[in-house]
């Protein structure tokens, strides 16, 4: 598969950079177009507290049937013209792909049934778990876990999955420790060297499956990197400026998936998607205020300003006062989508984008770096380089410069205890050599005895 190269932004005007549309929309098998002018809700759900075993599989199947019926009924009731359903498996349902496939079939057949009987268009995103980290150190390119993942991707793609996605974990085994230490240097190695290499391997494989089956290789998420940082920052454990920089430096890694065959819509929890959209013009999923059922965030509105599908991240099948949580969640998503779609129909997409962005962006550095003009600035820096490592390193420098400038200009207010961190992080990145081989050699020495196998990344 030929590698796509990106050397300029997909947009010539920032005024075209809005939610719901993009230069390279994805047309699904049933005619739904993602990024073609409409923001669709993307609903994800999971089981209530129960074990996922062969014994509980029949019960789990019943629950998934209840969930999918409930959400499709709700979409019909609220006159939604279409929706995306994500089946992100529990680890056990990827480890035993036959279990995952049984649940997939329930979702898929019910969605087909509603389309046939009621004309409700829906598309299914299949997201197996990245099990490779179950081996410690992780085995990335072979073994039973890798085979299980491939099997679930292949079988579900053959049986009608519209989009293939994953939250991949290459480099996470060293990044977990780096995050709690505020060690941006090691995170840059994890994302820009290890993660980027793994993304190339992984997405080449997923794209081949997609090509053979007619599914779309949709995209990835640096959830275990940037979202972990975001959640820890929300809890006051990490500086928000660190989480903001981690978000930006996740973008070059994400771009590798698109370069190697993915076409979007990229995964919902990947807030780094905004840079992908600017660079590649592919559609993106995002989540914000209506994903508070799964996690808190400081980017509830701004995330919607550039979204092409709007997600709830995940919610358990538990009963709330009004009904089951996935149905509640879908209703919230639908009303969010209705509002922004109506604004766009009336010619106010740009105004709506800016209202969504500006209501968040000056309150938190993580929101600030998602401001559309800042997204362009960071994206332009990314495409100045061809190499993922140099892109990652220079994105970190750029993000830090932007945050310092915003604080200095009093556009962005940060806590006093955050201020030192901008300089501390700057010192860390300035210490990284521009030569990747030199950096890898340094990191190999620093990380000797740690939990990763360089050869699993082709290093």
């Amino acid at each position: 598969m030929a590698i796509r190269k990106y050397t300029k932004l997909a947009y010539t005007s920032i005024n075209d950079f809005v939610y719901g549309s993009c230069p390279n929309p994805v047309t699904c098998k049933n005619g739904m177009v993602i990024g073609g002018g409409t923001v669709y809700p993307e609903i994800n759900f999971t089981l209530p507290a129960m074990e996922a075993t062969s014994e509980t599989l029949p019960k789990a199947k019943e629950i998934y049937k209840e969930i999918i019926t409930g959400v499709l009924d709700k979409a019909l009731h609220l006159h939604m013209p279409g929706l995306v359903v994500e089946f992100e498996t529990l680890p056990q349902y990827t480890e035993h792909p036959e279990w995952g496939l049984e649940i997939f079939r329930i979702l898929r057949s019910t969605m087909y049934e509603y389309e046939e009987k009621h004309g409700l268009k829906s598309v299914l995103r299949m997201t197996p778990n990245d099990l490779r980290e179950m081996n410690r150190p992780p085995i990335m390119r072979s073994g039973a876990y890798w085979e299980s993942m491939l099997k679930l991707f292949t079988e579900t793609a053959r049986e009608g999955a519209d989009f293939l996605s994953i939250e991949s974990t290459g480099g996470k085994e060293i990044n977990d420790e780096a995050i709690v230490n505020g060690d941006l240097r090691t995170s840059i190695f994890a994302l820009g060297c290890l993660g980027a290499r793994d993304m190339k391997w992984l997405w080449t494989n997923i794209s081949e499956i997609a090509e053979k089956t007619g599914s779309a290789a949709a995209g990835d998420s640096a959830c275990g990197f940037a979202n972990t940082s975001m959640v820890l920052a929300e809890q006051g454990f990490l500086p928000k400026v660190y989480a903001a920089v981690m978000r930006a430096v996740a973008a070059p890694r994400a771009l590798v998936a698109i370069e190697n065959g993915a076409i979007g819509p990229s995964k919902d929890c990947a807030y780094e998607n905004v840079y992908l959209k600017a660079i590649t013009g592919t559609p993106i999923a995002l989540e914000g205020k209506s994903a508070a059922c799964a996690h808190f965030s400081p980017i509830g509105n701004i995330a919607l300003s550039l979204a092409d599908t709007w997600s709830n991240e995940s919610v358990q099948q538990v009963k709330l006062l009004s009904g089951f949580a996935p149905v509640v969640s879908l209703e919230q998503l639908i009303y969010d989508c209705r509002l922004v779609n109506t604004a766009a129909e009336k010619g106010h997409a740009l105004l709506m984008r800016d209202l969504l962005a500006e209501s968040d962006c000056y309150l938190d550095p993580q929101a600030y770096i998602m401001k559309p003009d800042i997204v362009f600035e960071i994206s332009e820096e990314i495409i100045r380089y061809e190499d993922p490592f140099l892109r990652t390193l220079n994105t970190a420098k750029k993000a830090l410069d932007i945050l310092k400038r915003a604080v200095k200009n009093e556009e962005l207010t940060i806590d006093e205890r955050e201020e030192n961190w901008l300089d501390m992080l700057n010192e860390q990145v300035e210490d990284i050599p521009e030569d990747e081989e030199e950096f890898i050699a340094e990191m190999k020495e620093e990380l000797s005895g740690k939990r990763y196998l360089p050869e699993e990344y082709g290093i």
Partner: protein, 214 residues
């Protein structure tokens, strides 16, 4: 010895300085117990308070914890002759099927900072391993972590394994993790649920001190 300089070095996470000041204190024949309590544990408590008061972040606390550990390592061989006993021993791990370790690591780090001996047995830990390690170390506390709704039930399995082997009452079992609640703790007969790592360390220390006092 005036512990001001050592305290400041611990709080700022200056490993080299802490080592040098601890060695200096030993050369000056400062009682080991004083070095430990006033020079190392006390500043770490200040760091913990600063963290609880949102004055610093986890990485800064980790730096301080590493500096404290470097100091403790120097005086540790002298503990028994100085009559110093650890406050207590904790076995901690993430339950079977769950690979998440950041929360568990934070709890471990904070408990160490509170002066407890912590044995981290990792992630995806089988039920019986918790029991075996706790028995082997004659631990005081067993701390169990789970991040997923589907792995949370494994916490109950571990506790049942302690019961099955007739050793449940020997241990104070603490549980935590994003989906875990007080109601769940009661349901699985855990002794304690805490919302975050700082509370977990605080509870563990208070429990051990109270138990020691009888």
């Amino acid at each position: 010895m005036d512990f001001q300089a050592l305290s400041a070095a611990v709080q700022k996470g200056k490993v080299k300085e802490v080592k040098s000041l601890v060695n200096q204190a030993l050369e000056e024949n400062t009682p080991v117990k004083d070095i430990l309590e006033d020079g190392l544990i006390a500043p770490m408590a200040i760091v913990g308070d600063n963290f609880s008061a949102n004055k610093i972040f986890v990485p800064e606390m980790l730096m301080a914890a590493r500096a404290m550990s470097a100091g403790v390592k120097i005086i540790e061989p002298l503990f028994s002759e100085s009559g110093i006993e650890p406050i207590g021993t904790v076995v901690i791990g993430t339950v079977k099927g769950d690979l998440h370790d950041i929360g568990k690591n934070l709890v471990s780090m904070m408990m160490r900072g509170a002066g407890l001996s912590v044995y981290d047995i990792g992630i995806d830990v089988p039920d019986e391993r918790f029991v075996e390690k706790a028995e082997e170390l004659n631990a005081d506390i067993v701390a169990l972590s789970a991040l997923l709704t589907t792995t949370m039930p494994a916490i109950g399995d571990v506790i049942r394994e302690f019961e099955r082997r007739g050793v449940r009452d020997k241990y104070h079992i603490m549980i935590g993790g994003a989906p875990v609640t007080q109601a769940f703790a009661e349901e699985v007969h855990a002794d304690c649920y805490t919302v975050n790592a700082a509370d977990a360390a605080k509870h563990a220390k208070e429990y051990l001190i109270k138990r020691k006092a009888g």
